[in-house]
Symmetry: D2
């Protein structure tokens, strides 16, 4: 394969490379402040002194990506087109900046999508995951729906090649589920997962692995509810068909669940979770309501002596180590990955995510790269 214009320019002249790097690449671009996205060619990112350049083998779609694709209120207030989006990915390190010391050329990596400032009060407390000056890959800077991405070395997570790219990429959203689940006392507990999107689905085997006595999933999509059962949920409740609180109390001798993992952001689910919570129980909130929610703090939180924990991102890197531990112990998440498509079929992919008839949908940006990189 001939490449002449392929080497990188300053300040990346001093980057070390594992292979020739093209000057341009295929990427999914949010080109204008409107719905949709455009598959196009853009320059391969430059590699800063502390950056690594990754050739992407898999990039999975997050709910956030759907917000950007659909260009909703949140997206239009945060994202500045043109931008390559996408922030869950895995691939091979093909170039490293001159000050990179930890990640070797050729490493197989996934990535923490939150780039912490390392300087603020939160970072100084080991809380980089809630750094208030965080910059998010694919939201605040170029992302992963592309053949290459450059990220700071500090955000690369070296991954065993035992795990295929579609598993390696989902470590990031699985990390959300690990963080949410392990923030609660799971061993021996009855756990209710509200919302069986991919993160809720991950939470089922994680809860099982962490010792849950019984796992209840609440989800209106029949497809996803069934998938929760496949992943090991003991009780499946469809809120369109059942009285959620009543069913949960039935399953818990009238006492309620020890732990609620709120993955839906749905106000009704939040209310049901608090009603179905045991006295002294724990609620982890990950799902993001789109507006303020009416909460019965007296009966749902105060008289119950409940703990409500807001969860954002993943602990860096405690959560990643825990995630690796679960994968190493043989946890099989492959049923959740319902679709893998080449980057070209992004429209189909986003339709699948939107439909609710999917688990995790993965894009493969370099699947046919030989055909376009010549």
């Amino acid at each position: 394969m001939e490449r002449t214009s392929t080497t990188l320019t300053s300040p990346s002249t001093s980057a070390r490379m594992a292979q020739p790097i093209p000057a341009r690449m295929r990427a999914l671009l949010k080109a204008t402040p409107a719905a949709g996205a455009e598959l196009t060619e853009v320059a391969v990112p430059e590699v800063g002194p502390r950056d690594v350049l990754i050739k992407i083998r898999a990039a999975s779609i997050c709910g956030t990506d759907l917000h950007i694709y659909a260009w909703d209120a949140w997206a239009s207030g945060r994202v500045k087109p043109p931008l390559v989006f996408g922030h869950e990915f895995a691939g091979d390190v093909v170039a490293v900046g001159p000050e990179v010391t930890r990640v070797p050329l050729g490493a197989y990596v996934a990535a923490e999508s939150h780039i912490a400032c390392n300087h603020c009060h939160e970072c100084g407390h080991g809380l980089q995951h809630i750094c208030r000056r965080v910059r998010i890959i694919g939201v605040d800077r170029p992302g992963a729906f592309a053949q290459y991405i450059a990220i700071p070395e500090q955000n690369a997570w070296i991954t065993s090649r035992r795990f295929p790219p579609e598993i390696a990429t989902i470590q990031e959203p699985m990390g959300n589920a690990v963080h949410t689940t392990l923030s609660a006392p799971i061993a021996g507990s009855v756990v209710a997962v509200f919302g069986a999107g991919p993160i809720g689905l991950f939470a089922v085997p994680i809860s099982r692995a962490a010792g849950a006595a019984k796992i209840i999933t609440v989800e209106p999509s029949a497809f996803r509810l069934q998938l929760a059962g496949t992943m090991g949920s003991d009780i499946l409740i469809n809120p369109l068909q059942d009285n959620v609180v009543h069913r949960i109390l039935e399953e818990t001798e009238g006492e309620g669940v020890d732990v609620v993992l709120e993955m839906s952001g749905n106000p009704q689910a939040i209310a049901q979770g608090l009603q179905a919570l045991r006295f002294g129980g724990h609620v982890s909130l990950l799902g993001i309501p789109t507006r303020p929610v009416e909460v019965d703090l007296a009966d749902g939180v105060i008289f119950k002596g409940a703990t409500v924990q807001g969860i954002s991102g993943r602990r860096i890197f405690e959560t990643w180590y825990q995630t690796r531990g679960f994968l190493d112990s043989g946890m099989d998440l492959s049923p959740i990955i319902t679709n893998q498509l080449p980057l070209e079929e992004f429209a189909t992919a986003f339709d699948l995510v939107r439909s609710g008839n999917s688990g995790k949908v993965v894009l493969l940006p370099n699947l046919e790269c030989d055909e376009i990189s010549g």
Copy 2:
């Protein structure tokens, strides 16, 4: 003093007594399901086999008592007149049932007002303070605005006579403040107390004693706000005069407080507390909103990675030991006790509580007991 009709009858015949006990006593009775209360004579309570009978030296007024006195919606749904109310008190053990083994005759005691069932799931987890079958003294059974009270031995807290009755009685509400405050990481933290009723006022010196770097109090009553300053609050904010969130951010270099102690139950205070909270901060909720509250869970809890802890009652007896530790170390709460009145002046006392121009108001049921017990 001659007493003939003073001894107790079955099943208390076997109770051991430290002194002759009259058959009847003066008590403040919620006689009918309506506002107000009636000072009258009732039978001295019988002493069950595991009960202790206490001659009350001081009984302080709680917000709950004001609800019962005023006969609001909560009170009319919970309390069954006729009932002697009041649940904060201290006095001398003058009789003990035959199976009492721990509390000696003559002991000087205060009392945990929540009588736990000891059998439910919560009790089995050492969470007696949120026992779901709890019976509360002065709410679900006869209370302390009276000359005598009988309570289960398990609820009596032996107190050093170094502390006068008006201090001994406030160990119970002080315990609410200790429980709320020590549920949060206080040492080295900036703490905001919302609401400077008696429990909020207690929280100020407790926060100081637990190592708070700075204490901010938010309270609309000028009287109470000043009292918070007397108790050691560094910053005093009157929400009627100041922009609370703006002022707190000013005082914290724009970062917000580490800890919010919510003692008001006021929806606006709850919203301000979440807005003024640092990322990764902790909120302890003790104040009880009268209805569901609109909460910005996304920005106030989830993105901040905040912890919200509902607080009810006192840990039995961890909180009591901690409370004793603070008192032993010399904490002076006497400025908070603004008024002490004989039981007869209950109407004045309740007016004082209602006015906001008071700290803790204490009734003295046996102040003039010789005059009525003959």
Copy 3:
């Protein structure tokens, strides 16, 4: 008062009975302060007002029982013959005292063997498992190697009849393992179990259920080591054959284990555990060394920032609820129960325990009860 041989005597006259109770029963008696024990007949215990009488269906042998049987230094300093010993058991409630309110006649129960005073500082902190005035069943009062036992209602743990007696009885020692294991952060961790006696064997599936990434067992008995493998231990190390520390470091990329569960009490194992511990790791100590142990606190604890947690008994009843949760979730402990024998074969049973070629050994005191109770 005249009585047939089936009814109980005062103060149990008011006990309610589910069936006729014999006056005498078969029991294994430590009759004299010497090695061995004697199978004999003794009076069925009286039922106090708050006691339940249990007809024992299974009573398992603990290491403590072996100490009493062998009459070692500890036993001779603590136990006062004549005493029926044994403290792990399960059976049916056949009589209840008049003040019993929670446990119904006919209930199927196991028992917490530690009878807490409920009054001391530790009990007042919800730490009944380390009550300093604890009285232990079968050590300080009559035990369970017998057809009947009377225990305070507060110590009975109602158990589902889904679980056979040999599983119901081991909830108590399994609780030791649950308490030890869940005191450490297990999810995603590499865990080393030192000592694969029954409690160590229980710790293997419990660690797995609580999310351990890898479980390493260290045990000199080939029989028990193999059993640890059966229960799911990933790595088996025989210290008689391998360099324990070297092998553990090999298995952990030189970093050591996150958690050590010390179940052996062996000084060498304790030293190896500290050497093989990761920086920031956690050690739970359950095994009891027979004398003071030389510990390298500087390199093993201080520089590593390690946490060492002493474990005694079970949290009452948090641990029991967690244990129930694990059993409810389908944990199969039956391979650990290697032997079940009638009470008559106690000598064989104790030999099995002593040999190391056994897991848990269970006695069945009422297996042939019809033959003797007539």
Copy 4:
């Protein structure tokens, strides 16, 4: 490039400077592998791209420095002469490397002495204080008994000029005391501090500020014991004169202390601490025994259900924030700083440290800097 002797050489050509920097400086050098040290002139350190250069206003002496000065077994195994030692200091940032982004020129700073690798498992868990590849200032690289020091920006802690240099410098050892103390539950607890060297002395007011009910100090030096009293210790025990365990039990109604802060490293103190510990108590170990210690794990740790926490360094930067919180709240540590001397009087200073008749001893390297910097 031509340069005068006051500017720095490559790779520091691009450093920005607040003032002319001399080429050479006065420093205390461990010149040879033997006892003692030499006051001499050495080159001012070069400033790496991410370094800050600090003109030192105060450098306090730690026990570690005494080990290096005396050249004991530990020192000869770790330190490679020639080396400028000293690692507690404060001063002004007079030059910054080109990639420094957080610390401004002119900042007044103290420093975290542990330079973490940021890459290892421990760093990845927010445990930089126990980074296993840590490099310590003044031990593994040039230190602070000198006029200037260059350190990585990440280790500089910006300090308010409200605090004089002798207070700013002791934030580092005070941090050891904060870390040790706040690892234990202090609020409402009875705390025993074993060893009243400077860190033990700091622990007294920190324990008080964190809510200790009673503070007991055990220390053989009469001078230091008295100083502990000055700092607020309620009970002073000299182990040369008193039976330590007996006295502590007397002071705690026979129950023992809730918390032991072990600051001495003395095996006898460790044994006494475990004996005098309450059931369920907490021991924080900071003092480093010089060899393995015989520990009664059974009675001292296991049966008590005690928690033993090894403490090393300071949490980076949680501990620093907490330390700042205590200083901001008005904690006065000046009585502990018993001596301040110019760098020239280092021999006197080390004699004072060795004698036990001192608290913290501070050296002032630039006291007469005008005389040598011209």
